[in-house]
Amino acid sequence: MNNTYDVIIIGGGATGAGIARDCSLRGIKALLLERSDIATGATGRNHGLLHSGARYAVTDHESAEECIRENMILRKIAAHCVEETDGLFITLPEDGLDYQAIFVESCNKAGIRTEILDPDEAKRLEPSVNPDLIGAVRVPDGAVDPFRLTSSNILDAKAHGAEVRTYTEVMELIREQNRIIGVQAYDHRAKEERKFYARVVVNAGGIWGHGIAAKAGITVNMLPAKGALLIFGHRVNKMVLNRCRKPADADILVPGDTISLIGTTSSKIPYDQIDNMIITPEEVDILLREGEKLSPQLAYTRILRAYAGVRPLVASDDDPSGRTVSRGIVLLDHAQRDGMEGFITITGGKLMTYRLMAEWATDLICKKLGVNEVCRTAEIPLPGSVESEKEVERKMHGKPIAQKRSSIARHGALATEIDSRDSIKNSLVCECEEVSIGEVEYAMKNLSVNNLVDLRRRTRIGMGTCQGELCACRAAGLMGKRSPVCAKKAKEDIVSFLNERWKGMAPIAWGDTLRESEYTTWVYESVCGLSDETEKTSMP
């Protein structure tokens, strides 16, 4: 087996995937290692907000400029991952209108288009907005789907020669004197250790990057900040809603695909808790209390789930107390900083700036490798974004309208590869999100799906109202059809999928959500007899 590459990228979030793509487009042979599935860290655990930069305009001019630039680029290169909803920064009576003037001025300075709206006009544009608002500013915010974005980058990276290994966890960095020459990793699926070598190793592990750097004896001082969010059952708002005031808790409501998201809270947590995200009742309380101020409807809209992500905030190198954090992009060349050759860390930043982070990192990789190629990721569209939705739709026949449009939203131009020849292929696996048998088969074949949870990230299976009630067993059946799985493994997969769904429902388990999850429990435990499996798998 050839295990030598030009570059090894650790971390399968948007940044890692972006670096893999950028490297491959520049002819660099890249290997991406991810301990779990793609987009499982902070990439998949945020608002999915296509920032215009307006949120940072007043406090962080540089981030604001980066955001609006990347915003415009993503609309072009990742059109199928982006929804151009626009956003409103609303002023409530308790906020006062003073901030609005500073806000608009700062936005204009950063190159962010603004439009001050009359409150009545704002209500007309966005009927769900708090009717008490006294001011509103329209900005080019939007929604971006982090799973699609990461997956498309991976697809394109692979198409240009990159190798991607998920469920492969880096255990050690292989060091030769003052140089990192490779990694020793554990393949969780094959259950074996493997070694990979490269001239440059990139640490793109987000918050986990702290631990990866530590394997090389290097300190990257990360400050884990937990952000909790709530997902509402359907779209409440058409436009992104923000408060026009200094950024605070729970002041962004984003419409994303079929749902709306309110977030976030912000609380520091100890590093050893980053794999143990628990949503507290207080966090749910804050999210609801503040969320209702953006849109009063949230008070009686069904909540699907709660979740939290960890921001990879980095303490400034020159501040030993760790209080001064940078929200900007942090690129560390450990050769310069720590005298460790062949190792770089890219962190900080935001989902919004993943491409720019990848560009910076790849520029540095090129320098180290002596490669003289320029970055083209800002011009070349991602797979799926090469044609407009209308053009794709013209090529697709035979699918019911909602199914057709849902699959185009998820896969863009690649939706045409979904088999829709007959009514069996068009039968639904996930009814809430309109995922057909053909689409599941397409995802299993092309998008590196190892289990039901991976399948969810590729297709939205189980992300709808019923949270897996109807689709889990159907999808498990299709997984088993692809490659023979023993019954025990298939059952374990369903249990882990459903338990992961329950994890998000537990913090908000009341009303219809509780009724639904009780029904799901009854179906799977009492009817299908999965309760035995639950006990076994929950044992350490």
Partner: protein, 407 residues
């Protein structure tokens, strides 16, 4: 912890827990694979339409609006209303087809047809005419049209009944509907005979328009709303000013006025809703409370099979009609399984729905044939047409049977 103000969502569709019982009970989903079924067309689809209105699927037109999904739903989701509302909100805004206009405007067509009833009835029964209607208007040539009466119920009433009815000390208001007015005035006369025997005079509303059910299902919402407003105004006069209950002989008219007006046309009716009911239920309650009693004549014993129309199932009122029939000496009542006959008003007249319509009704038709009944009874006029066309049995309103056996 501040739990949401209401733990049950105000967005009715969010109460759906995807149990899918509705789809199991949907008569259309069972026979027409092009219809996605109530769960998907209703709560699931609503969520997608809220994401983007162009997720509206034109297959929603296959919904018959029978509301059996709502009866089946254990979570109180107004599935049928969600589907019909989606058609109103997201469906084609203009009703372009002449066919739909003709089918929906029962009032207009009825007024034009009744003066020439003998000619119209003969014409629409002719094969070449039916063939033409099929080709030109997409009204299925196999469908047998209901016969029009020669002269309307209201003109008869004004000439021959109004004066005598006003003389009764107790009064009730009657919403006769299009069927009695244009097709079967005899049913109206039967009701008057029964109510008179009970000591009640029957009055008509100041102004009555078609309840609008056919307009709603054919996409003519504005007209439906205008007619509903007229009807509600007349009902308010009867109830609030004259303190009269309003009874109807058609289950669908009753259901539309009581439930579809507020749910689909956004017209509040809670001030009068409880005073509008079906004549069989009204009579049953009068009898049960001991206020009235009837004398019946001796007659041949007959076996009557009662068919529960979908909207009776939804209102939960077929019990009253069945019990009323059981009070008639010499009438043996058997109750057919409650299942849709497939006609659904104007639905079954349309060429594209003919097959679905007959497939839906098939199990019912078989049960009727096997029942050994002399006569089928039902409270819905369109069920009657469908049963008479698709089986060998005659079909009548329970009140007609009741009246025919009064002493």
């Amino acid at each position: 912890m501040n739990i949401q103000q209401n733990t049950v969502s105000e967005n009715n569709f969010e109460q759906c827990i995807k149990c899918t019982i509705c789809t199991v009970y949907c008569p259309v989903a069972a026979v027409n694979p092009d219809y996605p079924g109530p769960k998907q067309a209703g709560p699931d689809g609503e969520r997608l339409r809220l994401k983007r209105p162009d997720f509206f699927d034109s297959a929603l037109k296959y919904c018959m609006n029978c509301k059996r999904c709502e009866v089946a739903c254990p979570s109180n989701v107004r599935i049928g209303d969600i589907i019909q509302s989606a058609r109103i909100k997201y469906g084609p805004k203009r009703n372009t087809s002449l066919r739909n206009y003709v089918l929906a405007n029962t009032d207009l067509v009825g007024s034009l047809a009744t003066p020439f009833a003998p000619i119209v009835n003969t014409a629409v029964a002719l094969k070449p005419v039916r063939f033409m209607m099929d080709k030109v208007m997409a009204i299925d040539h196999r469908r047998i049209f209901p016969k029009y009466a020669h002269g309307t119920f209201t003109s008869w009433y004004k000439k021959h009944a109004a004066e005598a009815q006003a003389a009764f000390p107790k009064q009730v208001s009657y919403f006769h509907g299009c069927y009695v007015n244009y097709n079967n005035p005899q049913l109206g006369k039967d009701l008057i005979r029964i109510m008179n025997a009970a000591g009640y005079g029957v009055r008509l509303l100041d102004k009555e328009k078609c309840c609008g059910v056919a307009l709603i299902s054919n996409g003519l919402y504005n007209q439906a709303k205008r007619q509903a407003e007229t009807n509600l105004a007349s009902i308010r006069t009867a109830v609030n000013e004259n303190d009269l209950d309003v009874i109807a002989t058609s289950s669908t008219c009753t259901f539309t006025i009581r439930d579809e007006y507020p749910h689909l046309l956004s017209l509040k009716n809670d001030d009068v809703r409880d005073r509008v009911e079906l004549a069989t239920r009204y009579l049953y309650r009068l009898i049960q409370s001991g206020k009235v009693s009837f004398k019946f004549k001796e007659a041949e014993p007959i076996r009557v099979a009662y068919h529960t129309p979908c909207h009776m199932e939804k209102m939960g009122w077929s019990y009253y009609s069945i019990e009323l029939l059981r009070m008639i000496p010499g009438v043996e009542v058997i109750v057919l399984d409650s299942q849709c006959c497939g006609i659904a008003g104007t639905y079954g007249f349309k060429k594209e729905n003919y097959r679905t319509s007959q497939d839906v009704g098939e199990p019912l038709f078989r049960q009727i044939e096997a029942s050994g009944a002399d006569l089928v009874a039902t409270d819905c006029e369109t069920c009657k047409w469908q049963i008479e066309m698709s089986t060998t049995k005659p079909c009548e309103n329970p009140l007609t049977i009741f009246a025919s056996r009064l002493a």
